[in-house]
């Protein structure tokens, strides 16, 4: 089910990219910026992929909402700020995790193909991201083959995690200032362990389930000012 959803989203975006590339001069834009201007507008985008994906994948136990603001500078540079919030609830053999928190990513995208005034582009970029969350892990068994132990709870935990991302995606102007597009993200976690041995959250807002690396996808709707 998830796979089909991703395939449909990707095909739709590729089709839009291709179409927009052929008819870029026909795009209707709300405001034209001079070809030589440094600042060439700002966009606000709202992700719709993660809420839908998590609704399908975790039956709503994970909710991940995010938005992005980016500027277009010197035709092909897009400094970007992404903000989001996530709630997660997960159970495994080693306990029951509940957490919620916010995240932010900052970075820069580069329009990969064209330098023109068109808003339709393929983009590659980098992000540095951090997430701060409050969480608890309960019913955690203490492993002991020879000396049997009980279970332990970690309440009122706070943790900051950070990671880097390599992103690729596309953005198309669909009608007036409205945009849509997608990002695929490869995420590399920097804060992998806790030296004190404290509880680690199973889910990181903006990153996903705790792994050394992770993948992500966003499909966004936006508006350019």
């Amino acid at each position: 089910m998830n796979r089909y959803l991703l395939v449909i989203l990707s095909l739709l975006s590729f089709a839009l990219c291709a179409s927009a590339s052929e008819h870029s001069t026909d795009s209707v834009q709300t405001r034209q910026y001079s070809d030589t201007a440094i600042y060439q507008g700002m966009s606000i985008k709202l992700d719709i992929a993660m809420p839908i994906l998590e609704l399908v994948r975790s039956a709503g136990k994970v909710q991940d909402y995010e938005m992005a603001i980016n500027m277009r500078l010197a035709k092909r540079f897009y400094p970007t700020l992404e903000l989001g919030y996530a709630i997660a609830d997960a159970t495994a053999d080693g306990g029951h995790y509940k957490g919620h928190g916010g995240f932010a990513r900052v970075g820069m995208d580069l329009s990969a193909l064209q330098k023109g005034v068109s808003e339709n582009c393929l983009m590659i970029g980098l992000r540095f991201a951090g997430a701060y969350q409050g969480f608890q892990v309960t019913d955690v068994p203490i492993y002991g083959d020879y000396w049997p132990m009980g279970k332990v709870d970690y309440f009122d935990q706070r943790r900051f995690d950070c990671w880097g991302e390599i992103v690729a995606g596309c953005q198309v102007q669909v009608w007036k200032g409205f945009q849509m597009g997608w990002y695929i993200r490869m995420k590399i976690l920097f804060t992998r362990t806790d030296k004190q041995g404290d509880a680690l959250p199973a889910y990181l807002p903006g990153f996903g389930y705790r792994n050394d690396t992770n993948w992500g996808i966003n499909y966004f709707l936006g508006y350019k000012f």
Partner: protein, 147 residues
């Protein structure tokens, strides 16, 4: 599929969670030609943990390493070691600490060894090689035996 697969999580532990103190046994002696020989494998060793009724190692042959579980609830663990009817007691002072591994695996108890000593019927000396007990494969103590 790869994208979705990478975003999922393990719910079953795939990590070896066993934590125990690794102890190697050594003795130096001279062979018939007068050359120094180091013995590292031993027969007829029995080890009991004080606080438990059963033996954890019972008259094993060609034993190269002892894997001894430290107590998680106290800071002293003691082991009765019998070598061919000669018995020594090994004492280990350690600090247990709870270590969260993952949501799939739960917690392990790691230990930091602060001191180790023994009676000296067969044991010559006890050396701390690695004070951090965080798995069951490393060598933490080295016991030198009288030959």
């Amino acid at each position: 599929m790869a994208i979705v697969g990478a975003c999922t999580r393990d719910t079953v532990c795939r990590k070896d969670m066993e934590v125990a103190m690794g102890v190697s046994l050594q003795a130096d002696s001279l062979n018939q030609k007068g050359h120094s020989v180091k013995y590292t494998a031993w027969d007829s060793i029995t080890v009991e943990v004080i606080g438990k009724s059963d033996s954890i190692i019972d008259n094993r042959k060609s034993l190269k390493k002892l894997t001894l579980p430290l107590r998680p609830d106290t800071t002293i663990s003691a082991f009765i070691m019998t070598f061919h009817e000669q018995t020594d007691t090994l004492f280990v002072e350690h600090t247990p600490r709870q270590y969260f591994v993952s949501l799939a695996c739960g917690c392990a108890i790691y230990h930091t060894i602060t001191a180790a000593w023994s009676t000296d019927y067969r044991v010559d000396s006890v050396q701390i090689v690695n004070a951090n007990v965080e798995n069951a494969v490393q060598e933490n103590l080295r016991i030198h035996l009288h030959e």
